[in-house]
Symmetry: C2
Subunit: 457 residues, 2 copies
């Protein structure tokens, strides 16, 4: 029954020029019936982007396959896509796939997904689950997650550990609490860890899952916009060190990411804006149409229009999934997702973790990266202005806090993960909107000029 319930919601997005691999599927695919999945083994879509195939076996959804394109910029007509994003009540869920061979996994995006026992249960391995959450998100959603996991006599037993909330707790002492709980409750190699919360919870739970018994399964349930559009996708996990952010961690991919867009209803405005900083990033580095869509739809995002949010999340996940598929371990391309982050991490570290939200620091960092790109002559003067305008509209910072000095920036950036053989590499914008470079080949003086322009001392 679970498989049937599951299949019924996999309705074709009308935005996709859907077709199937078999005639059976072709004729029945648009009908919102369970029987639609009775026969086809592979159902494929193609938008302007990659060809996406959903593979079934004996009526049960097995996996989605995405035929990767060469590295490039997604140029779909984003505005049009957004208008058509929710054509009917049938359209409950989007699925974006992260294509990593035998470590591929789906990102489910939709409303009320926490009430879908089939989704969660189908990705739990073993019978034991440890939910890792925090004092803010736990009281709001933990019961619903437990109910979904245990629904229908699933035989899954659930334990939970509730951590203090905040970036300053993303450290070894708090991580040890997860291990303590896992061992006390006798989690074994066949257990599943579930991260229920924002980026801090996702990063810590993911690293705990990567390290506990040298690796157990895990699932991400991101509940902030920041984590839904960015940190829950792609397998970067870890904790901070007193001397730098995310310096200890692992690449470790989840079984699935479940984005219930309803959880954004409880998100504070400042957290929402923080997530929008990462949404803006995708447009700048590789998706000009998405950036232009944001310029037109920022107000809808800020007023939490469901369609606009759902589209922004999906488009962000598609961009991230494609980059991660092409460069999982960040040998090059993936680093471009860190536009503004080297400056941003320095701000977060320099003023103490938790002083600014991650997206706030990234916003200021993005303005600094754009400034430096312009000083290098790599972009024209309109782009920094458009960036500042959009960030201001989102009520995000466009400069670092006063306490950040040039020396502070320099000393912290010197231990950035993107330093290689002593050389700091940066993501900078270059060329028309939607293009960037990851490079250590820039004039050091220009970096100094940018730092001096944004710092009082």
């Amino acid at each position: 029954m679970a498989a049937a319930t599951f299949s019924a919601t996999l309705v074709a997005p009308s935005i996709l020029n859907s077709h199937s691999e078999t005639n059976t599927a072709s004729s029945s695919f648009h009908k919102p019936k369970i029987s639609v999945f009775a026969k086809p083994k592979s159902i494929c879509f193609r938008s302007s982007g990659p060809r996406i195939c959903r593979v079934f076996n004996a009526n049960k959804f097995v996996r989605t396959e995405v035929n990767s394109r060469a590295a490039g910029v997604i140029r779909a007509n984003a505005a049009q896509v957004a208008e058509e994003a929710r054509p009917s009540a049938q359209k409950e869920m989007e699925v974006v796939d992260v294509d990593l061979g035998d470590r591929s996994y789906p990102i489910y995006i939709g409303s009320s997904l926490l009430d879908r026992p089939d989704l969660l249960q189908s990705h739990v391995k073993g019978r034991r689950v440890l939910v890792v959450t925090n004092t803010t998100v736990g009281p709001l959603y933990l019961d619903r997650v437990v109910a979904a996991l245990t629904h229908g006599g699933s035989n899954i037993s659930v334990e939970s550990v509730i951590l203090p909330d905040g970036e300053k707790y993303k450290e070894m002492g708090t991580l040890m609490k997860v291990f303590d709980k896992a061992i006390e409750t006798r989690m074994d190699r066949r257990c599943t860890f579930i991260a229920l919360g924002g980026g801090v919870i996702g990063d810590m739970c993911g690293f705990a899952a990567a390290s506990f018994l040298r690796g157990v399964n895990f699932i991400q349930i991101p509940t902030t916009l920041m984590s839904q559009v960015d940190s829950s996708v792609g397998g970067k996990t870890g904790i901070n060190h007193p001397l730098g952010k995310n310096l200890i961690g692992a690449f470790f991919q989840p079984q699935c990411v479940l984005v219930d867009t309803d959880t954004l209803s409880t998100l504070p405005d400042r957290e929402l804006a923080s997530g929008i900083a990462e949404v803006i990033k995708y447009g700048l580095i590789r998706d000009a149409a998405f950036f232009e869509w944001q310029e037109k739809n920022m107000q809808a995002l800020l007023t939490r229009d469901p369609s606009a949010l759902a589209y922004a999340i999906k488009r962000s996940c598609e961009n991230k999934a494609e980059v991660v598929s092409l460069d999982e371990k960040e040998s090059g391309l993936r680093a471009t997702l860190n536009l503004g982050h080297t400056f941003g991490h320095a701000i977060e570290n320099g003023i103490g973790y938790g002083g600014w939200l991650h997206g706030e620091a990234v916003a200021a960092g993005t303005v600094m990266a754009a400034d430096m790109s312009y000083r290098l002559g790599w972009i024209d003067d309109t782009l920094p202005k458009r960036i500042v305008k959009l960030l201001k509209q989102a009520k995000l910072p466009i400069a670092p806090p006063e306490e950040m000095t040039v020396d502070k920036f320099k000393s912290i950036m010197a231990v950035d993960k993107k330093v290689a053989d002593g050389l700091l590499r940066l993501i900078l914008l270059k060329g028309p909107l939607g293009n960037c470079v990851f490079t250590g080949d820039y004039d050091r003086k220009t970096l100094d000029d940018t730092l001096r322009a944004f710092c009082h001392s």
Copy 2:
């Protein structure tokens, strides 16, 4: 020049029915000249085991390829091998390869390898090295490792961190000292960590390398027999938790393992015996001929006969390399390397880490596993007797310490990593010498009987 020096020592073991892929190599291979490697691209050997090919490119050794056989028992005539193990002074180094696709790496085994700058330098990536060692091994060998790394104006800069010595320091607080040092000395993604020491240093340095900046290169230089025959090979890294051994860690493979057999000259007798416990294990689980060789040559091992030790290390590494190649992440076969370890880990944990050496606890655990196997009717009565005799000869324990009670064993074994869905799986001997099973399908009462037979309460 470095490549030439390197090649000159790769002389064919006379035990192998060597042949080459090219006529050029065939005619010149047995001549101990550098020019022997001038032309062939691939030189292959075949013993009774896998076909081994050493691949060269432009005179430079690139990698060794081992054609894996199906899972099975190595049945080479081990005694004969030992006699012929050091046919000439030319035979300076053995190379055993761990075949893991793009994560394959060589294990170099030989005398004076710490004085071979070419070996170490060829596996360092980037220009920055952090050597992790301890207060016992550091004073003995750190200078030589630094000299080898910096020899010939290599442009490699070396930092080191010296940790306290002992299993009780294999924990999070000590691990953090490695991260502290790495960050303070500005190690970046292109740096290399080198573990110089025994199993504790190897496990901690390996986990630090796996987690620092989400993974940097590392090299193992094991200096105890235990780490040379077992823990340095196969990529298991990690630390202990107060509630259990090796509960936090990662699978992370080194760039190479460098075994300088001369380091055994400074090893205390008790440590030597501890390593022998793991050597005996390989014979029991998959290599009957090796066990029989040990029965004949135990005295030579205990008196540190160089040929006997070199052979025992090589044969152990070959066994481990083959198992790891077939099952890197321990989905089944690899678990058999843990014969006696579930009982042994319980002893180590129960009396406090460092009370007994790892191999001592494994020795007692092996006797217990053999006892249980016999009680189950899976082996005849001669095998437990032969095991006890050999362990006694090696001056290893054949029973747990008095303070280990039945309840203590049970409560600690309940959180063993091999518990799955609440069921404790054990490695037990079954069938003729050299055969074992990894199973949760055994009579619980028999486990109780064994525990009661070995515990006073």
